[in-house]
């Protein structure tokens, strides 16, 4: 049974808006570390917590109200100069922000949040009472005074009229001034103890705190893990769209309706035998117009799904900052191109890979401040996260100015871990060597335990990017830093494909994998280990025939080769001929999905074409990424 029956819509709205607010607060917190006295920042952060508190009250999320209220009070003190920000206090604030986020996760699951971590509450209270933070955060024993909360103050809210009368000097029949002030100090019962702090006497340090936790509260962080997994399962099912974009869709669908009417009337004319040049010209015009309108409509609909990637980027400076602090490094995450628009589903699927790459840059990429100084670099490291659109692709760049990666050391590590043999290692060039870090099992133990925390290794990063029809590339210069370049299609709904022919039947290959097309000259085919290879500009590539992959008999010798590059390998796919390129609108085969088929699309002549999933087709050819392994695997085909 949901705690929010009848309020689901409101809850969704609240969560979406509150999430944005909190991300904004997170970023401002990172800025605040650099400018601890910036009143504007302090004000904004104060208001963030304040606003969330206000909304949470209407959702009866008392624990969220309490947590926000305490944090807000802390910022009130900070902005009034009554408290000074120090790193310990910052940690308390960060922990509180995390608590708020976890509560959003619970709300997303339609349950009322559990009380925040008692240490965090105690630390906040301590800070408000002027105690140096630190001790309560680490010492659970000191954390939770087991006093029950004071009974809600009765008396309801301030008597506005009476107060107003008092202030304006008008006669006040029912109450004396003293009573009025007392009433003004009372708080509405529904806000409960939370809102009472500013008025509660705090001078006496020994006095039971108005925020005392319930005696049953466990001081451990036990609920936190459960929360985290819950939050992970949550996926936004709603989207916010600029109304002008929706208006455009509406406008276009209206125009299409009009054009359809025109066509209907023309059809009637033509069926009635009217086929003079004027009628045909009108038909031609109407169809061209429809053509234009439909493609405009497709674009507009696509645009409603586009969201600025900044919404995703927002979270990262905080993550980078937390990790850097944990590791004793000084790292600044610089964002660029936040306004770049990306398909909404893609934004969600990019979240984890990007977190991993950023953590990787902070953890493994950049050096400790002393090490940097010794190398003649500024002690503060820069990690740059950038997005931009290049043609029909979105490019994401994660660059650090750290120590870079040595191809040699990576090769050595991969051999040491038994991922590749020594002979294989020797055949790899620089780029191929760097790519070894994407092999499953390459990631070090540290990455799996505390850095990723979610068991995401570089191999998963790569797989996730590939699922989005994207690719990832590494460039690195020892001593200067490393760059990860992710390239993604603008949208997942339309896939540029290359149409190839085999036995007269067209097949579609994702164009993103195609590097070039070349004729296959029989005499240039060389046999290596009993298998066919072709040398392209010094690179020895296996020739794999599409007929063989599909299990078709090889009827005639293929004339063309498609130089393809998937994550695992480069190879030449041998086909009969080409039919050109097309932007395929993918229709998935829901129930019936033959192996190696990603979906189907319809050509302009109405013919149905299978879109091939190269990865799946090649899966039988072995797992190893390098050419030698590919060749070895080929022997079994």
């Amino acid at each position: 049974m949901s705690d929010f029956a009848g309020m689901e819509d409101l809850l969704q709205d609240f969560l979406q808006e509150a999430h944005d607010l909190l991300s904004d607060v997170d970023n401002k917190l990172v800025d605040l570390e650099k400018m601890p006295d910036d009143r504007g920042l302090l004000n904004d952060i104060f208001r963030g917590f304040h606003t969330v508190k206000g909304g949470a009250g209407f959702l009866n999320a008392a624990e969220l109200v309490t947590l926000c209220h305490l944090t807000e009070n802390l910022f009130d003190r900070l902005r009034n100069g009554e408290l000074e920000l120090n790193p310990e206090l910052m940690d308390v604030i960060m922990a509180a922000t995390k608590g708020v986020r976890e509560m959003f996760g619970e709300l997303g699951q339609m349950v009322l949040p559990q009380p925040a971590d008692a240490h965090v509450i105690a630390a906040l209270q301590g800070a408000l009472n002027g105690q140096p933070p630190g001790a309560p955060v680490v010492a659970p024993a000191a954390a939770a005074p087991a006093t029950p909360p004071p009974p809600p103050v009765s008396g309801g809210e301030p008597d506005w009229h009476a107060l107003h009368a008092t202030l304006t000097g008008a006669p006040v029949p029912p109450a004396t001034e003293g009573e009025l002030i007392a009433k003004a100090e009372a708080v509405p019962a529904s806000v409960a103890a939370a809102a009472a702090t500013p008025l509660a006497p705090v001078a006496d340090g020994a006095a039971p705190s108005p925020f005392g936790r319930r005696a049953t509260d466990r001081p451990g962080a036990q609920p936190t893990n459960a929360r985290r997994t819950e939050e992970r399962g949550m996926r936004e099912s709603t989207i916010r769209v600029d109304t002008s974009r929706l208006d455009q869709v509406l406008n276009l669908s209206g125009e299409i309706g009009l054009t359809k009417n025109r066509l209907t009337s023309l059809r009637a004319d033509i069926l009635a035998g009217k086929n003079d040049s004027e009628t045909l010209h009108a038909l031609d015009q109407a169809v061209s117009q429809l053509d234009l309108l439909v493609s405009d409509l497709q674009n507009s609909v696509m645009k409603t799904r586009m969201q600025p990637i900044g919404r995703l980027f927002q979270k990262y400076p905080r993550i980078a900052r937390d990790l850097a602090r944990q590791l004793g490094k000084d790292v600044e995450l610089v964002l660029a191109g936040e306004e770049t628009e990306v398909d909404k589903t893609m934004i969600e699927d990019l979240a984890d890979p990007l977190i991993h790459l950023i953590r990787n840059a902070v953890d493994h990429g950049v050096e400790m401040p002393l090490e940097r100084q010794a190398a003649g670099k500024p002690p503060k490291s820069l990690v740059r996260l950038e997005a931009r659109q290049e043609g029909d692709h979105i490019v994401l760049i994660i660059a650090d100015d750290g120590k870079g990666m040595s191809a040699e050391r990576i090769r050595a590590k991969a051999t040491e871990k038994g991922l590749i043999s020594e002979e294989e290692a020797n055949t790899l060039d620089e780029r191929q060597s760097l790519n070894l870090i994407f092999l499953p099992g390459f990631s070090t133990k540290a990455q799996i335990s505390d850095v990723s925390g979610r068991g995401v290794g570089m191999d998963v990063v790569k797989t996730n990017i590939q699922k989005l029809n994207g690719s990832i590339e590494i460039r690195s210069e020892p001593g200067k830093g490393s760059v990860f370049i992710i390239s993604l299609p603008l949208t997942l709904a339309i896939l540029p494909v290359l149409l190839v022919l085999l036995g007269g039947q067209p097949f579609a290959l994702p164009l993103s994998l195609v590097r070039e097309i070349l004729p296959i000259e029989q005499e240039r085919i060389q046999e290596v280990g009993g298998k066919e290879t072709l040398v392209v500009r010094g690179e020895v590539l296996p020739v794999i025939s599409l007929a063989r992959l599909l299990g078709w008999p090889l009827e005639r010798y293929p004339e063309y080769g498609v130089f393809m590059q998937t994550a695992e390998r480069s190879f030449i796919l041998a086909v009969d001929s080409f039919a050109g390129r097309d932007d395929a609108v993918i229709k998935s085969l829901e129930d019936f999905r033959p192996k190696g088929v990603a979906g189907v699309t319809t050509l302009s002549n109405g013919q149905i074409v299978l879109i091939l999933d190269m990865k799946e087709l090649l899966a039988d050819l072995g797992q190893h990424p390098d050419m030698a392994a590919g060749l070895r695997a080929l022997a079994h085909v």
Partner: protein
């Protein structure tokens, strides 16, 4: 007390969820003629456009907060008669006094129900009827 259900309200809050809450509560009370503004500055612009009969405003907002909005309304000849109900999360004495001094018609603390809102509105309507 008979308030005109066509009375035009302006709900001012920077948090759109909150505007929606207030709008829904007003609807429950039979007031459907509601416009919204994101902060005091936008609210003032809308108010200058005319037609509004009641302002419900949050206190804490960027650009122009609720108190400044209230003070500006009271200092503007063609707006100063408007009833202004302040909404805030605080029940702090100094806030209430500040609102009273600035000439607020009422003050309501979050969270509240339709019942509480109705009570507040009726008190203000009564006072308006007398004055």
């Amino acid at each position: 007390m008979a308030a005109d259900p066509k009375m035009k309200f302006l709900v001012v809050d920077d948090f759109s969820t909150m505007r929606r809450i207030v709008r829904n509560l007003l609807k429950e009370l039979g007031f459907t003629n509601v416009d919204e503004a994101e902060d005091g500055a936008i609210a003032l612009q809308k108010l200058q456009g005319g037609g509004f009969e009641f302002v419900v405003t949050d206190w804490n907002m960027p650009n122009m907060d609720g108190l400044t909005l209230l003070q500006t309304i009271r200092a503007t000849p063609n707006l100063k008669h408007l009833p202004v109900l302040m909404i805030t999360a605080e029940a702090k004495k100094e806030n209430i006094i500040a609102a009273a001094q600035a000439g607020a018609s009422g003050y309501i603390v979050k969270p509240f129900t339709a019942g509480t809102l109705s009570e507040k509105l009726n008190k203000i309507f009564e006072k308006m009827g007398q004055g």
